[in-house]
Each structure stands twice: as structure tokens, then as C-alpha cells.
């Protein structure tokens, strides 16, 4: 029996790059209105997992289902913000046009952007507070501002599932809190999967946490135990608490 609220279902996913395993036997279900944080060390397969969900990486074995379909068919319902988009800072495109790219899935091939598309872009740019820069060239913005534009681009497609890969990596710390507040608002209408190594922020804002280091150590609630983190990071860690107390991961001395 299919569960209507089960948006993502991964079963026994295995991915390797040229013989080097990136994901091993990953099984997870993600439900509507989840805000899932995936944490883990660099090279632990976090970005790969998101790419599997988008159908950009084909698993060697295992099954992927997104909205009950294969990832390619579900793409139009997914918004994606990649870790560090690779683009040329001189690329001739304005903020407005970058955000408009997110409407492509709605507009489709050989169709012009409509008033509705333009309204969606305006809303999304205002939401991330970048509307005032709409005519600027993308390369003229700072890394954090660019990241907001890319979030706007993901939002304009009115996705049901939002995938964020290290969204705060290039945002300065004052803007990070603001950014998480924004996600907090968004999660009311969205399912969000956020990859991050910022354990502190993740445990404050997300509802569920998964720990990933090739294998998935899923914990469900956001209260991570020392054992799970230890298994994930392969090293002893300081006891993790949650709430406003800062969290730290320490290497064994």
C-alpha cells in the first residue's frame, strides 16, 4: 500500500565513483512537511545523496522513488540549490533572469514566460530580499547574495520538495540566522532536505536529523546521541545536546 505522505523512498542505495564507494546500503523514507537535516563529514556522500534524488547520479543498485515516481519524472516538483554553482562571473545574465530560470519547468520548452511567471519571480526575489538588485549582473553580487538568488530560483518553481546543499557555506554568519528563519517559514508549505556540516544550526532548526558517512545513521528526531555521531564521524565526540547551547564535535586528542 502506498503512503500518500511518503515523498521520498530510498531502498538499499549503493553508489560508487570508479570503484570507490560513496553511498552504501542507504535506506530512508522522507515524509511530507519534514525538515530533514543531513549531517556528516566532507566526502561522506551528502551531495551524492541529493544528486540521487534529482536523478543526476544513477545508483549502482537499489531503488529510488520520489513522489512515487522515478527522479527524472519528479524533477519539476523539486527545487534545488547546489553547493556552489559553477558559473562564470562575467556571464551575461541579470538577477531577474537567473531567478526566472526556476520557472523553466513550469513554462516548458518553446513557451514564453507569462505574467504569472513574472509575478512568481518578483515574489521570490522579494522573499529573499534581492528584488532591489534585480537588474544587476549576477557576478556583481557577493557570494551570500548570489546564494539568496539561487534560493529564489529554487522557490519560483513552487516546488513541493526543496533540496539544499550546504546553503549557508558562502553566507556570512549574520545572514545565516536570517536564512534559517526563512527556511523556518518555508517549511510550513514545503518538505525540505538540507545537507550541512553546521551541526549547531541544523539541530536548532530542523525537525529530523540523519547522519551520513557512506552509510546512513538515521536518527529520526533531532536529538542526536553521542553514539550516532561517533559512528558517523568515526571519532569520539563531545556530548551533543540540543536547544540554544552550542554544539561541538571534537577529535580525540
Amino acid at each position: 500500500m502506498k503512503n500518500e505522505n511518503e515523498i521520498v523512498k530510498l531502498q538499499n542505495i549503493r553508489v560508487s565513483y570508479g570503484g570507490v564507494p560513496a553511498l552504501e546500503d542507504v535506506t530512508i523514507s522522507i515524509f511530507r512537511h519534514d525538515f530533514l537535516g543531513i549531517i556528516g563529514p566532507n566526502g561522506g556522500g551528502k551531495s551524492t545523496l541529493l544528486k540521487v534524488l534529482l536523478g543526476l547520479v544513477k545508483p549502482d543498485s537499489g531503488t529510488v522513488s520520489v513522489f512515487g515516481k522515478n527522479p527524472e519524472q519528479a524533477r519539476s516538483r523539486i527545487g534545488y540549490v547546489s553547493q556552489r554553482p559553477v558559473f562564470d562571473n562575467n556571464y551575461p545574465v541579470s538577477i531577474w533572469d537567473v531567478a526566472m530560470m526556476g520557472r523553466y519547468g513550469k513554462a516548458g520548452i518553446m513557451r514564453r514566460y507569462s505574467h504569472e511567471d513574472k509575478a512568481a519571480v518578483e515574489r521570490a526575489l522579494k522573499r529573499v530580499d534581492m528584488f532591489k538588485y534585480k537588474d544587476k549582473q549576477i557576478g556583481r553580487l557577493s557570494g551570500g547574495q548570489q546564494q539568496r538568488v539561487f534560493v529564489a530560483r529554487a522557490l519560483v518553481s513552487e516546488p513541493e520538495l526543496l533540496l539544499l546543499d550546504e546553503p549557508t557555506a558562502s553566507i556570512d554568519s549574520t545572514l545565516q540566522a536570517e536564512f534559517y528563519e526563512l527556511l523556518g517559514e518555508l517549511k510550513r508549505n514545503l518538505t525540505i532536505i538540507m545537507v550541512s556540516h553546521d551541526i549547531g544550526a541544523v539541530s536548532i532548526y530542523v525537525d529530523k536529523i540523519a547522519c551520513l558517512n557512506r552509510q546512513l545513521y538515521y536518527h529520526g528526531s533531532r536529538e542526536i546521541t553521542a553514539e550516532v555521531l561517533e559512528a558517523t564521524y568515526k571519532c569520539p565526540v563531545q556530548l551533543i545536546t540540543h536547544g540554544p547551547v552550542p554544539h561541538r564535535v571534537l577529535k580525540e586528542h
Binding site: E72, S76, D88, N90, V93, V98, M101, I109, Q145
Partner: protein, 266 residues
């Protein structure tokens, strides 16, 4: 002379539009590979006694698709694929020209271009190819804006990235054919890059960049044609040298401005 002006205009349209993609997507050397590989078609054209430009059209399309296929479907890198097709195409051309009995008329004009001798049949062919290019770019403008900006994102939102990439290579192949008569296959990459690089100094809007690039392409061709006539120099090379000099000056001037405006960037 009227043919020369029309050839110049048609060449400017093709290289202005497609050159913008070549420059922003950084595939100048793929274009160079396609251009040189087309020489194989010119040789076969001579050998079979058909219009060499038709041979070039077939060959450049085939080599464009081959470069795309090799880079997308095998583990060979793009520059390896370019190197192979570049040299193999030239070799095929040389062999067939050698095998062709007698003298190959206006071979030099295919290699280095001669805008003054473009026959009317080739003008019609160039016009047709321009129309094809304009149609493709008009239809897929927003697709290419996304694709050449961030290909991973384009794939992630379900765009048929591979098909569009092959189509882009095909457009480059058509542009090469349009330009062969004007500047020759060896100098084609210059006309693909100069006008677009120049246009980029003035705007960051893709459409405006294309329009400016067409205008610059036409000015370079006209100016080069006039200088070559006055000084009795080969037209193709003069057009390219004029473009190079103007571009260098424009870069110099724009650097002065950028230095003043630099603090504006955060």
C-alpha cells in the same frame, strides 16, 4: 562588390549570434576543431566534383556531432576529441585534394577566405543557414540561457541537455560554413570570438550582446574589406587583424574604466 557586402552581413549575423554562445560557454576550441575538420569535406567536394562548400557543410556537421558524442558518451576529454577530429579532417582533405586530377581552383579562398569572390549560389546558402540559426536561437533562447549558465542546474530541472548541446554544436558547424567563404576555415574562430568578446564589454544582457556582436562583426568585415582594398591585402586576414587590433584597444580602454569603477563591487 554587392556580393561581398551581402556575404559580410550574412557572416556577421551568424558569427555574432553563435559567437556569443561560443564565448560564454567557452567552447572556442570545439569551434576551431569543427572548422578545421570541415577541410575534409572541402577535399571530398573537389574530388567528387561537387561544390566544396556542400562537402564542408556535411563534414562540419558530422564532426560537430562526433565531438559532442565523444565528449558525452566516452571517457575521452573534449580537447582530445577536438585534437583527433581537427587533424583527421585536415588529413582527409589533403588526401582527396591530392587525388583530384588537375588543379584545385580557389583552394586558397577556402583556407583563408576571399569575400570578393563569393558566388551568388553561396550567398543563397549562407542566407539559408542564417535563417536556420536565427530560428533555433529564437526558439531555444531561454533554454540556452540556462544551459550555458549552469549545466548541472539545467539537468536538475529536467532540460534535455544533451539534445540542446548537440544542436548548439550543429549551429556552430553551420556558422563555420557561413564564415568559410569570408575569412576561410583557418581564421573562422577569430570571427566567432572577436565580435562577441567585444560586445561583452558593453552589456551583460544576452540579447543585447548578440545584437551588438552582429554589429561589430559587420563593422569588422566592412572595415577589413575596405582596408584590404585600399592597401591591396588579402581580405580574410585583414578583417581578422582589424578585429584583433580593435578588440585589444577596447580591452585596454575598458580596463581603465574598470579600475575606476572597481570599488563598486562588494
Amino acid at each position: 562588390m554587392r556580393n561581398a557586402l551581402m556575404a559580410g552581413l550574412l557572416a556577421a549575423v551568424a558569427c555574432g549570434i553563435v559567437g556569443v554562445y561560443v564565448v560564454v560557454k567557452r567552447i572556442v576550441f570545439i569551434s576551431g576543431g569543427i572548422a578545421h575538420a570541415s577541410f575534409g569535406g572541402i577535399g571530398i567536394g573537389y574530388y567528387l566534383g561537387i561544390n566544396p562548400i556542400i562537402g564542408a557543410l556535411v563534414f562540419s556537421l558530422a564532426s560537430g556531432l562526433a565531438i559532442g558524442g565523444i565528449t558525452r558518451k566516452t571517457r575521452l576529454s573534449a580537447d582530445t576529441a577536438i585534437g583527433i577530429l581537427w587533424a583527421v579532417g585536415m588529413a582527409v582533405g589533403i588526401i582527396f585534394i591530392y587525388l583530384t586530377p588537375g588543379y584545385a581552383p580557389d583552394l586558397m579562398s577556402y583556407l583563408f577566405g576571399n569575400i570578393l569572390t563569393v558566388p551568388m549560389t553561396d550567398i543563397y546558402l549562407m542566407l539559408g543557414l542564417d535563417l536556420v540559426i536565427i530560428s533555433i536561437v529564437t526558439i531555444f533562447f531561454k533554454e540556452y540561457l540556462i544551459l550555458s549558465f549552469d549545466e548541472e542546474y539545467a539537468t536538475a530541472i529536467g532540460m534535455p541537455v544533451d539534445i540542446l548541446y548537440f544542436l548548439l554544436l550543429a549551429m556552430i558547424a553551420l556558422t563555420v560554413v557561413v564564415l568559410i567563404r569570408v575569412v576561410g576555415m583557418i581564421l573562422v574562430i577569430a570571427l566567432l570570438t572577436f565580435p562577441a568578446a567585444m560586445a561583452r564589454l558593453f552589456t551583460y544582457d544576452m540579447k543585447k550582446m548578440m545584437i551588438l556582436s552582429v554589429i561589430f562583426g559587420f563593422l569588422f568585415t566592412l572595415g577589413g574589406l575596405w582596408i584590404s582594398y585600399e592597401l591591396n591585402l588579402p581580405s580574410g586576414a585583414t578583417i581578422i587583424l582589424l578585429g584583433g587590433v580593435v578588440l585589444a584597444l577596447a580591452f585596454g580602454v575598458s580596463r581603465l574604466f574598470v579600475k575606476k569603477a572597481a570599488p563598486d563591487k562588494e
